[in-house]
């Protein structure tokens, strides 16, 4: 090892110049990391490396220089470019110049095993490192270093592979001539022309990147001309220097946090300060001072006189707020009554979190001749972005991907550049790829492509050569093939990852949960494993899914299908008759599932049926006692967990039914909870918690656990107020207290299912987010799971679709094979990753991120399909291509009953349980006029009389100039002006709307050019039969699975829709009712008998249909798409 010194001078904070001396050791063992290395053994085999290798069959290696790395990172990020050698020279320089974002992107590329790119530590490699000569510029030294690297590679590999140096700054002349190590220098343009002449994406990207204005350009500009320091036009201010910010944050003069823009009111952003100050509001673009949603910012508080309360408006228009903070005075006028929050101003930015954004060109902008255009990001919390593109016509009405480059002080909007186009706006595929991009779901995941390398690792399973367990493996596993194992899943489930067995032996119960043994097939650090880790989770969208593992594993070999032998990881308990655990066994096993049951079939068996459709009668006989025993046991376990504070929470999930012919949506079904869901969930929770405890014993500092921190008290405000309005008090002091008071509410108002549902949803929203942690990274008292009331919890039961479970499986295996828990031995089979707390923490963070994004993507896709459904429903037949037709009068009214879930200052939100849609109802127009439809004001008696007269248009007649009053977020009252009372007789003077009132609304679609269409609603009237209809539903809950009937006039409308557009309503309700009522009579009888034990029969509680009478069997016929449902 050669030792040299790196001497340089540096200015310190105190403005003194200090000489820094650093040692540099030059090594001989820096590997070339090329799989073509000619040495024997190859040089990367002599040292421990964790890196991918440059591939064998590449025509050339690429070495980008600093100018390329800085400006064209995105080009280097493109998956087409492989075999890139990143030199330490450019990486160090990026770090020194504080370009950590670029640095991280390059590291990411090098880390991705699919890219075959490496980092070469040339600065520490003997014979390659270059010392800076006196009076030589840094650029030239770095360039010489790169040339040296290129030449070294040529020599090292005996000139077998050409090396291309990519530079925008230097040319071939600057390279010098070396006969036996000739290096090619190319600019990016030359390179793309020569090697990727047909790839339009790369060329376009290069073009737009060239035009992008980066922050360093701004710096150099401002250095050139220090004139226009303060431009009054934008109102932005210069950021304070970093040292001042850091000092300010430490002295608590400033506050630091992630800035988030409110989605419902884009003029306001906030950061979470520390616990003393809570949330800090930032109002208006001037105060936001060029920070973008997601950036880590430093905020200075304004003086108390200008503090405001957060707005409670529902914003009218996604585009509106972008213009400027013109409604500031209005805001301050209105809010003096309400709770004032600390308000601040951004004075500096710690780090930017700019991502690729999906955007649309501003309408009409394509006609402008200039090359600068404004684009509206799809995500409304992101400001408009200024991009440069030579031909805007191409981009019109397209969804495009845009990145932000910089935000100069004198510019209203940030500068960005165009990356690529996704396709025409409002096209289903475009919108879905937009969702995927917004949530960072990688391209390789969306194309479903697994690399050839990872597919080669897969075991073979073809019809001719079905996969069979190996005899050698059989001896190592516990043979559970004699046990009756069954799985319960949603219909058509392909990736079955859990199965259950239960039996009674001599007064004791032997209960087993068997999980697909993915970790056996996916070896750690194999290509499949790396790919799965990168993907993190299987992403389920409403109409498709993106797998984490290749199909051959997820649907065949790992999936616990029936009648075949499958490897499993099992947890077996011995329970006494009171379901107390006597002993636990973990281990690998082999099972043969007897039956793939569906939830509804299992529920059927549980309800006392001897035979259920789809399951063989003989099998039913063996399964039935098992299911019943399972239910009994799990009820006890659940009751015990509930007693210790487990919460029963709710969220409104829906499923979509698709029409076979054109992929249209035929119906939206709310997810129907059955008792079996709870039972399976409980079994999984039990398995998860036992495994969590076990791996924590084995890996004190690196166990992958899932924790759920207790919620922040202030988040309960809405829930408390909501409950108060109904006269309930809710105790949120602990999870047990919360669970008890929620249950209390539920018992007292058991006739109003929607109210309870909504209350539980509110409670769910108040919860903190559960996340994966590595046990070493948090103190022990933070491991607990608040929602489930468990001390230890992890994810173990779905390894096919969650990577965390795979890690947990490996840790469990390592625990079982290792020695006594807690003791670390060198021979422990755990790999470095499993033992290393900080690495595990990284994995956990990555998985948390992936999980959150996949959930958000799922939510977005649900909303997308809901709007599509509304679009179908409101469009008149024969107007198929009237997307840009904005005329509201042409719409077919589509009315539903909803429940008021949130009251705001200018309207309220209505939740329509039927479709799981929540949308705003505006009472006050943007102009300030308050209007209410006539139908809402009519006395019930009048309304009934009038609706009896047939088609009336009352709901279209608006009463204007009303007065509105709201209080405490629980009710709105609207006063009707005198003249209206005269004009229409039989009007009540005021309209009272309270939280949880049932209302009739018409669902409408706000068409938007730049954003997704959004659903809003107009009030039609109070649901006068609200109470009546509840009781109606209680007695005949399944009358309208297709559509609920509210009043007679409703039926007329429904009928009209059905007549006008038969294709949209494949089953009129009469058909449905007929179909269903046949099976219903007997159900009702049975229910009366069986309902003695529980206060509310589960079926009644959840409007549950009998399996054989359910929509499943009716719609099975055209269930082309898989129904996706999140279980356990």
């Amino acid at each position: 090892m050669l030792r040299t010194e790196n001497v340089h001078f540096r200015k310190t904070n105190k403005n003194t110049v200090v000489k820094r001396v650093r040692e540099v050791y030059l090594r001989q063992d820096i590997p070339c990391l090329s799989s073509q290395c000619l040495l024997e053994p190859q040089c990367h085999q002599r040292v421990k490396v964790e890196s991918s290798l440059l591939s064998t069959d590449t025509p050339y290696f690429l070495i980008p220089d600093y100018s390329v790395a800085l400006r064209y990172v995105e080009l280097l990020e493109q998956e087409e470019l492989t075999n890139i050698i990143f030199t330490e020279t450019i990486l160090q320089r990026l770090q020194n110049e504080d370009k950590s974002r670029t640095y991280k992107s390059l590291r990411q590329v090098a880390k991705d095993p699919r890219r075959r790119s490496i980092v070469f530590s040339n600065e520490h490699c003997e014979g390659v490192s270059v010392a800076r000569e006196p009076s030589e510029t840094l650029e030239h030294r770095d360039w010489r270093a790169l040339v040296k690297v290129a030449q070294w590679y040529r020599r090292h590999l005996k000139q077998s592979v050409p090396v291309i140096l990519l530079s925008e700054q230097f040319t071939q002349q600057d390279c010098g001539t070396d006969v036996d190590a000739a290096v090619t220098v190319m600019s990016l343009k030359e390179y793309l022309d020569q090697y990727w002449p047909s790839s339009a994406v790369l060329h376009e990207l290069l073009g737009s990147l060239k035009e992008a204005i980066l922050e360093e350009d701004l710096i150099s500009q401002s250095q050139d001309s220090v004139v226009s320091k303060k431009t009054a036009s934008t109102g932005y201010q210069e950021y304070k220097p970093m040292s001042e910010l850091e000092a300010g944050v430490k002295s608590e003069r400033f506050f630091q946090g992630v800035m988030r823009v409110r989605a419902n009111h884009r003029d306001q952003a906030f950061i979470r300060g520390d616990s003393n100050i809570g949330e800090i509001v930032i109002v208006g673009p001037e105060n936001r001072n060029r920070a973008v949603h997601g950036d880590i910012v430093v905020v200075e508080l304004l003086n108390k006189a200008s503090w405001v309360a957060p707005s409670t408006h529902i914003s009218y228009n996604p585009e509106e707020i972008h213009t400027a903070g013109d409604d500031d005075e209005e805001v301050s006028n209105q809010h003096h009554l309400r709770e004032i929050k600390p308000t601040g101003r951004v004075v500096g930015i710690i780090s930017r979190n700019w991502q690729p954004y999906v955007a649309t060109l501003q309408e009409g902008s394509e006609k402008d001749s200039g090359s600068f255009h404004l684009v509206l990001p799809l995500n409304a919390v992101i400001p408009k972005i200024r991009i440069r593109h030579h031909d805007a016509k191409v981009l019109a009405n397209q969804r495009i991907v845009v990145r932000i480059d910089s935000w100069p002080i004198n510019s209203q909007y940030p500068n960005g550049h165009y990356v690529r186009s996704l396709g025409p706006a409002h096209n289903l595929d475009t919108e879905i790829s937009a969702i995927l991009i917004e949530h960072g779901i990688s391209v390789s995941q969306t194309t479903q492509g697994f690399s050839d390398g990872s597919l080669k690792e897969m075991p073979i399973n073809t019809p001719e050569k079905p996969w069979r367990p190996e005899p050698a493996e059989l001896t190592k596993r516990r043979d559970l093939r004699k046990h009756t194992v069954f799985s319960i899943d949603p219909p058509n489930c392909q990736d079955i990852d859990d199965a259950i067995s239960i039996r009674e032996i001599g007064g004791q119960i032997e209960f087993g949960v068997h999980i697909a043994d993915v970790s056996y097939f996916v070896k750690e650090n194999s290509l499949t494993d790396l790919e799965a880790r990168a993907r993190g989770t299987t992403v389920y969208l409403s109409d498709r899914r993106f797998d984490m593992l290749p199909k051959v594993l997820s649907e065949q070999i790992c999936s616990l299908r029936h009648h075949v032998d499958r490897y499993a990881m099992s947890v077996m308990w011995t329970l006494d008759s009171e379901a107390n655990v006597l002993s636990t066994w973990f281990g690998r096993s082999i099972i043969r599932s007897a039956c793939e049951m569906e939830y509804e079939q299992a529920q059927g068996l549980l309800n006392g049926k001897d035979v259920v459709p789809g399951v063989d009668a003989k099998l039913c006989k063996t399964l039935k006692p098992a299911v019943v025993l399972l239910a009994q046991t799990m009820r006890k376990v659940r009751a015990r967990r509930m007693a210790s504070g487990g919460l029963e929470l709710e969220s409104s999930e829906v499923k979509f039914k698709f029409k076979e012919e054109d992929g249209g949506i035929s119906d939206i079904l709310p997810k129907q909870p059955l008792e079996v869901h709870q039972i399976i969930e409980e079994a999984m929770v039990m398995a998860n918690s036992y495994v969590a405890k076990r791996i924590y014993d084995g890996f004190r500092e690196s166990a992958m656990l899932r924790h759920h921190p207790p919620p922040i008290e202030s988040h309960f405000k809405m829930l408390l107020r909501a409950a108060e309005s109904r006269g309930f008090t809710i105790d949120t002091s602990s999870n047990l207290a919360l669970a008890t008071s929620l249950r209390d509410c539920a018992n007292k108002s058991s006739d109003d299912i929607e109210f309870i549902k909504l209350l539980k949803t509110m409670a769910t929203m108040a919860m903190s987010e559960a996340s994966y942690i590595s046990s070493g990274s948090k103190p022990v008292n933070e491991y607990a799971h608040y929602g489930l009331a468990l001390e230890f919890y992890t994810h173990f039961t779905s390894p096919i679709r969650r990577y965390a479970d795979v890690v947990v499986h490996r840790q469990l295996m390592a625990c079982l094979l290792g020695t006594t828990p807690g003791e670390k031995t060198a021979s422990a089979p755990a790999s470095d990753l499993l033992k290393n707390g900080s690495k595990m923490e990284q994995v956990a963070d990555h998985l948390n991120y992936k999980n959150r994004e996949s959930k958000l993507a799922q939510k977005d896709s649900t909303e997308l399909f809901q709007t599509l459904y509304i679009l179908q429903k409101t469009r008149k037949p024969g107007q198929e291509n009237s997307v840009d037709d904005d005329d509201d009068d042409d719409e077919v009214p589509f009315t539903e009953t909803g429940i008021i879930s949130e009251i705001r200052e200018n309207g309220f939100f209505v939740f329509v349980p039927r479709f799981g849609i929540k949308g705003p109802v505006y009472l006050k127009e943007k102009s300030g006029d308050i209007s209410v439809p006539l139908s809402a004001l009519q006395e019930p008696a009048v309304a009934k009389a009038r609706s009896g007269a047939g088609n009336n248009k009352d709901h279209l007649t608006l009463i204007h100039r009303c007065q509105m009053d709201t209080d405490l977020m629980t009710q709105i009252s609207v006063k009707v002006p005198q003249e209206a009372l005269v004009a229409h007789q039989g009007l009540s003077k005021t309209l009272q709307l309270r939280l949880f009132d049932k209302v009739k609304v018409a669902l409408r679609l706000k068409k938007s050019h730049a954003h997704r269409h959004s659903i809003y609603m107009t009030l039609i009237g109070l649901d006068h039969e609200g109470i009546a209809s509840t009781s109606l539903r209680a007695t005949a809950p399944r009358v309208a699975p297709g559509r609920r009937l509210v009043g007679n006039n409703k039926q007329d409308e429904v009928k009209r829709i059905a007549e006008q557009d038969p294709a949209l309503a494949p089953f009129t309700e009469r058909e449905l009712i007929q179909g269903i009522q046949a099976g219903e009579g007997e159900d009702q009888k049975k229910k009366k008998k069986g309902g003695a034990k529980r206060v509310v029969d589960p079926e009644e509680l959840y409007h549950q249909t009998r399996p054989e009478a359910s929509l499943y069997s009716l719609i099975d016929a055209f269930d082309r798409f898989r129904i996706i449902e999140q279980s356990s």
Partner: protein
């Protein structure tokens, strides 16, 4: 401000070493003719001069022990040793602490009972500072003691190891030390494997301690070889001179 990456994903530290590698050590003995024994040691960029006087008559009568010698250690850091010039007072607690560490390290190793009623002075001077001063001081002191011909049961070799980002790393330099890494210094008798000093800065998880300690132990063995070679070379040179 981005934090310095102390350990790159390629497994190299800031100065290009791997985690288990020492810095370059060069040493000579008998550099001062005035002192009874002296040594100069460069440990990377940390440079230490050690001088041993004694055994000689104790300066203060009151301190004299009738059955053995007393050890006196003085430790000093040159104001020019770091990039920024800084003068320390003689009573700097940090310096006194360091001196007492050295003293405690050597008390069980030097066979003081051979020199009753006397005093052995060890003067340590840091000339250049780049992390790991304690280990360098102890190593230099060992060499100076041997050079002075004072009876010891064994060499004393000291070495630091710390937890850098995700791995135990040997022999931290100044950059690594200053970014709040936990650091353990141990002094060891390489032949018997006995440890005479363990000192730790900042916090370290107890599960990591064993890894760090064993790495530091390995470092000590390695340093022993380097020091031993210098001593033997010096002895050979002396022997040659005497033969002439």
């Amino acid at each position: 401000m981005s934090r310095v990456e102390l350990l790159s994903p390629e497994g190299l530290r800031v100065d290009g070493r791997r985690p288990e590698e020492l810095r370059k050590i060069t040493s000579t003995t008998a550099v001062l003719s005035q002192a009874d024994g002296s040594a100069y040691l460069e440990h990377g960029n940390t440079k230490v001069l050690a001088a041993v006087y004694g055994p000689r008559e104790a300066r203060h009568r009151a301190l004299v022990l009738h059955d053995r010698a007393i050890l006196n250690v003085e430790f000093n850091v040159a104001p020019f040793s770091t990039g920024e010039r800084r003068r320390r007072t003689k009573n700097d607690k940090r310096l006194l602490e360091m001196a007492s560490f050295v003293k405690q390290t050597f008390e069980p190793v030097v066979i003081t009972t051979l020199y009753p009623r006397s005093q052995i002075d060890i003067y340590l001077q840091i000339i250049q500072h780049d992390g790991g001063t304690l280990q360098a001081c102890i190593n230099a002191a060992t060499m100076a003691l041997i050079d002075a011909g004072i009876a010891m049961t064994d060499y004393v070799c000291a070495c630091t190891a710390g937890w850098v980002e995700r791995e135990p790393a040997l022999d931290l330099n100044h950059i690594e030390e200053s970014s709040d890494t936990s650091e353990v210094t141990i002094a060891m008798l390489p032949k018997s494997g006995k440890v005479t000093l363990v000192q730790m800065e900042s916090r370290l998880h107890v599960d990591k301690l064993e890894d760090v300690l064993s790495l530091a132990g390995k470092g000590c063995k390695h340093i022993h070889q380097v020091i031993d070679k210098t001593i033997r070379d010096r002895a050979e040179e002396l022997a040659r001179k005497m033969a002439v």
